[in-house]
Amino acid sequence: MRNFSKYILGLASLLLFLISCSSSKGFIFALHTDSFQNKKSELQKVICINPTFRKFEDTDFDDEDYEFASKFKQLYNSSIEKYSKKNKLNYEVYSPYSEGEKLTSYYKDLLPLKSAILKSLNVQDNPMNEVESNTYKKEIIQKFVVPTMLPAELAELVGKYDTPYFSLVDIYTSNGKSYLFHVIVDLNLGRIEYQEIKGYSGLVKKSEMKMFVYDSFYLLDKFFKK
């Protein structure tokens, strides 16, 4: 009977060991071009184009639940500005919820830019187009990606907005799978500089959404070489 405590302790430490070794579903990718890691000083201001939070009924991402997502849209936009500042990054959100000049410039300039970024992402050979397979491990992989060029005429926007950096931060969630995409483009060079793809097996609600956004900016801040 004296050995009983030893058995309990042994069993518990074995359990702890097994649990610590077990991998959970979910992954983080951070892909970047070769020079982006040294550009922290240039990244004074980033224009974030209409951050979208979309909720789907099923894991195939077919039926969209607009009611659920609409509760978080304002909060999502404000949390991007808030948490980027906390991580020493200056993100300015331009979206249909903006007012005045921001609203008009969103429809006039930034909507075509967003579609151009999405198009170039689609043709690029990167894991973002294969995340559905869900076979990737949870570790962060940082690797060089052959950048895809954006249309040259979009470089006009650099002067207008005082920054060459534009970004997309989108969340797609359903009951089974959820993803976050964070993309930064440099319009001076006309290419995608940085991508972060994060997968999570579960529904993203209010608190998870905040953590998703915060962690993304935290990762970006830590990514730069000091």
Partner: protein, 291 residues
Amino acid sequence: MRKLILFTLIAFSVTFQAFSQGVLGKKAVVKVNLFNGFRMPLNDVQFEYALGKKFSITAGYSLLASNIRPEYRLDYAYNFLQTSSQATLKKYEYTDYEIGYLASQFLDNRAYNYDDAEVFSFPEKLNVQSSVWSIGLRSYKSSIFSAPYGRYFSLEYLRGKQKVTGNIQIPIPRVDDFVVGSYNSYYVKSQRKFKVTDREINTSSFQMNFGKQWVKFDVLTIDFSWGLVYSFTSATNKAQDGYIASILARNNGANFGSFPHTKWNTISSTIDYRKSALGMNIFLRVGYLLF
């Protein structure tokens, strides 16, 4: 087993990742227990700090007062008898086997002749004041969100003292009664009343829990966990303390089953009375994300 623990620690240190942002940049949580300290929730406090993306350490302290109404159990009486009989072992040159035989004979006769409820009752409660500190390690399941959030498995070690005050009446015969008393008389002599004042019983327990921690409103955490606890109380040399220890082991913590044993300490020539028990525990903690 030591190698396994060491290996686990090495695995921890290897898997600690450089980035540990916590929940919204905050890694430390201070929590109070709503179940155990319902009367005084601030008396059971736990502090948690995220070490990496997946692990956190916890440290806690609880200062609780409670009342226990001791129950009569045959194994308590038997253990008490065995312990007290050790003291007169030399005097009458009885062997362990003989003492055990007498004890079992007594218990058989008692069960046959008398009604438990009438004779063996404890009208008064024992007041127990326990101060226990704990230290633990948690392994979180989710790797996407950082440590103080999500499902977890925790290991915890608790150690402390329980101060006991109260009057209890233990209806156990003296060992002398076996020897000199007649068959019918020893039972009458057996009533003993102990006045217990500030007896300190050492207690330590080991618990493993599964749980989940939620974060609400950016700063509030809700931590629910359940699991197994293996606790043992110990008293040295005093048969009365041994009896109290056995009550505490069963009533104040673990509740599945108990495993008694006594040990002769050859160095100090005293009897170590130890009572261990296995049980289940459940916690609901509410906390605040500090920094």
